[in-house]
């Protein structure tokens, strides 16, 4: 059987969801039997080299680059999965959503305790190379169509595995209570 191709990325996330993916322990060997990785931080491949079957998205969109990457994933992946709270709801980064962007930038570069007094010129980085902050942090499905959502912060390794396994082998997903219980 031809192996399925998977791509992954971390947008406005903490990499915790990727850690959780690695946390499937020895099953990673089973996974490798089933899939090959294309663009992903796991193999450090920076660009797509081919069309993919599954894209795993960690993190929501907080800046213009996140949006570009996400759209690129939609273009190259048959199935897109939002993995984790940040991708699904914006998560922790979305705590800034009720604060004007200007205030956030000023806190980060001018007034915050770690910068106050160290930025005499009062510069807020604005080089054209830098991604531009969005007015708020968006969940992925606000930008592109997302086919599946795996909840959790991060989703349990077992949940990620069960979901991938079910998708790859075209079976019904096994969701024991422990995998979707959050307290």
């Amino acid at each position: 059987m031809k192996k399925a191709v998977i791509a992954t990325t971390s947008l406005a996330g903490c990499f915790g969801c990727h850690m959780s993916l690695l946390d499937i322990d020895a099953k990673i060997l089973d996974l490798i039997e089933l899939v090959e990785f294309d663009k992903s931080p796991i193999n450090d491949l920076k660009t797509f080299t081919r069309e993919c079957d599954i894209g795993l998205i960690e993190g929501g969109c907080c800046n213009s680059e996140n949006v570009e990457v996400l759209k690129d994933f939609r273009k190259h992946c048959k199935i897109l999965i939002s993995v984790g709270e940040c991708a699904i709801m914006g998560g922790l980064p979305a705590l800034r959503n009720n604060i004007p962007v200007k205030e956030c930038l000023e806190e980060a570069y001018l007034n915050g305790p770690s910068v106050a007094g160290n930025n005499e010129a009062g510069i807020i980085p604005n080089d054209d190379e830098l991604p531009i902050l969005l007015n708020k942090v968006y969940p992925c499905h606000d930008i592109v169509k997302i086919d599946y959502h795996l909840p959790g912060c991060p989703p349990r390794a077992g949940l990620i595995w069960e979901a991938l396994y079910a998708l790859l082998t075209n079976q019904k997903i096994d969701l024991p209570y422990e995998l979707v219980k959050y307290d």
């Binding site: 531009i132 007015n135 930008i143």
Partner: protein, 601 residues
């Protein structure tokens, strides 16, 4: 300083915590707001927790912890006000006052606030300033009002052009409000003679009164249309220490104003109807729950109650009957549409948040203070007076077979003669349109029954106003072809429900805004076909809401989608399958501005 003031206010209500609404309203009226220290004090005197006071206080639009200005201008924000130039008036108020809506001027003189429909749809744009109503405002008039207030004029001095028609110009009202009675029927007829029906009722047994009401086939005029005789019978049969009669004069459905006209012209008839109700169910206390927007009628109504007591039509041993004592007091609301829902109304009258109760038990079993209670609309009580006067059989000769009697319609919007029309049930929408002076070619839609009702298109104008076809609490808003139906009507109404939801049920609280945002997305041209399906499918869950507000909160969207689908589909992006409305240029604008960066995608 305020200590004695608050003690004296509480004293007026004998320290009764169930009268918290009255207490808070008096504090607000006399002190301009209800500050934290007075909450503390109230909590001590009334022996209820601070939180209990705060949750009532913060629920109502007209109560506030912070000052709202020496003169507080509440400008109606309903759809019809907007149709007649509210935006320009609001702008003029802001320019002249020098503050925005939601704010108070720095000198504390003037506060500008938005409010939901104030029952003046036939004379918009309208505003309430310190309990006085100002109608048909223009930008010029708005500027004039602010200028005069700044000059130190009092509210009565602002009325330069005389008062409104009928009792509106009587000494105890002095309002510029107009009744605009365009057609009279059984209720509004001149031939009403006070007392005849009470006399007649008391010649009958309470059971016979109920039988007569049942025979008349009259159904509630407040919107839900429950058979009145049956309600009274249930209540009479319910055991309880006391029974109560409530008249629902909350009239909050945007576009409805007929109860205001009855309150102005036929107050005795309402009170007589309540008295007959009291006799029928065996009650000694009646409460007229009056929306705060109609506070300008207070002195007038109190005087009428006093006169009725003098005439022995209220009070002890009414008309010499040793077994019948009944009196009525007025309970004000404080700005909350949901309090028109009968169980929320009772909660509110008990001094609490106007949050609808779970039913059953129904008010007829456990109502005010957990005692059997009837709640009826203003117009229902008046109709009962006619039923008792002329008999149930006579009443059934009016209207249609299933819908007997007359109905007061509140007609507003794009027509030459907005106002109150009392017609027999059985008229078609077409008949009404002829009556109110419209050019039918120019009518795009008619909103029947207010935002919670339905928005119908010309192909349905032959439908009949009655309980079995187009049931209505009486509001008809005529919407001309030149109006933007989705933005100016459907969206405005949906925002109204979002504003007025009590927040108890999740679909009402959360799904209404979600569907509203979808509507906005469609209006902005960012919609896709699946949005229409989502609107239809997701809204099904609104049925699970506890009260009528939530159950009908997305009707403005659903009924316009059903009857004006083209308006939606013409705005849908045809070749796009998925779009949640995200636009990069809009999303980065703020950051670009903050960092002096250009952006070109």
């Amino acid at each position: 300083m305020n200590n004695t003031k608050i003690e004296s206010i509480v004293g007026r209500y004998n320290g009764d915590a169930t009268r918290l609404m009255d207490i808070l309203i008096d504090i607000q009226d006399e002190m301009g707001c209800i500050p934290d220290d007075s909450i503390q004090q109230l909590s001590r005197i009334l022996d209820i927790s601070k939180v209990d006071i705060e949750q009532t206080l913060t629920f109502y639009h007209f109560l506030s912890k912070t000052p709202r200005g020496k003169f507080t201008i509440y400008l109606n924000n309903s759809a019809v006000a907007n149709m007649f130039g509210r935006k320009e008036v609001a702008q003029a108020f802001e320019d002249a006052a020098g503050c925005k809506f939601g704010e108070v001027t720095s000198d504390g003189l003037i506060g500008l606030f938005n409010t939901s429909c104030i029952g003046m749809n036939d004379q918009e744009p309208a505003a309430i300033i310190n309990n006085a109503v100002f109608t048909r405002l223009t930008p010029f008039r708005a500027k004039e009002i602010i200028r005069d207030l700044r000059k130190g004029k009092s509210i009565p001095e602002l009325f330069v052009a005389g008062y409104g028609d009928g009792n509106n110009s009587s000494d105890l009202i002095h309002a510029v409000v107009n009744n605009h009675i365009m057609k009279k029927g059984a209720v509004l007829a001149e031939n009403y003679e006070l007392g005849i029906s009470t006399h007649r009722a008391m010649e009958m047994s309470p059971e016979a009164v109920i039988e007569e009401v049942k025979k008349s086939n009259i159904r509630g005029r407040g919107g839900a249309g429950f058979p009145t005789g049956l309600k009274w019978e249930f209540c009479r049969k319910s055991p309880g220490e006391k029974h109560f009669v409530f008249c629902n004069a909350d009239e909050g459905e945007p576009g409805t104003f007929k109860d205001r006209v009855i309150l102005t012209e036929k107050p005795d008839m309402i009170f007589e109807g309540m008295t007959i109700g009291a006799y029928a169910i065996g009650a000694e206390e009646g409460i007229l729950y009056l929306r705060y927007e109609y506070k300008y009628l207070q002195d007038f109504l109190e005087k009428h109650l006093e006169d009725l007591r003098q005439k022995n039509l209220l009070g002890k041993n009414i008309l010499g009957n040793p077994d019948f004592n009944f009196d009525i007091r007025i309970q004000f609301g404080a700005g909350a549409y949901v309090c028109g829902e009968e169980s929320a109304l009772l909660e509110s009258a008990e001094g609490k948040r106007g949050e609808p109760r779970d039913r059953p038990p129904f008010p007829v079993e456990k109502g005010y203070l957990q005692q059997p209670t009837i709640v009826n609309n203003v117009e229902t009580f008046c109709s009962v007076v006619k039923v008792i006067q002329n008999g149930g059989d006579w009443y059934r000769t009016l209207g249609t077979k299933e819908s007997s009697g007359t109905k007061l319609l509140s007609v507003s919007g794009d027509c030459r003669f907005p106002g109150v029309y009392e017609v027999e049930w059985g008229f078609s929408v077409n008949d009404i349109l002829d009556m109110v002076g419209t050019d039918k070619d120019q009518v795009q839609a008619v909103q029947v029954g207010g935002p919670s009702g339905s928005c119908i298109a010309p192909n349905e104008f032959s439908r009949i106003l009655c309980f079995t076809d187009l049931a209505t609490g009486g509001s008809l808003i005529i919407i001309g072809k030149h109006r933007n139906l989705l933005r100016d009507i459907a969206l405005n109404f949906t925002d109204f429900f979002i504003e007025e939801s009590c927040g108890s049920c999740t679909p009402c609280r959360a799904l209404t805004p979600i569907l509203r945002n979808k509507l906005v997305k469609i209006i902005e041209g960012k919609g896709v076909m699946s949005d229409l399906r989502d609107l239809e499918n997701w809204s099904k869950i609104m049925k699970t809401n506890r009260c009528g507000l939530g159950q009908t909160a997305v009707n403005p969207i659903l009924s316009s989608l059903k009857n004006f689908r083209d308006l939606y589909t013409s705005k849908i992006q045809q070749d796009v399958a998925y779009d949640q409305g995200f636009r990069m240029d809009e999303a980065v604008a703020e950051a670009c501005q903050a960092t002096y960066r250009g952006f070109n995608y």
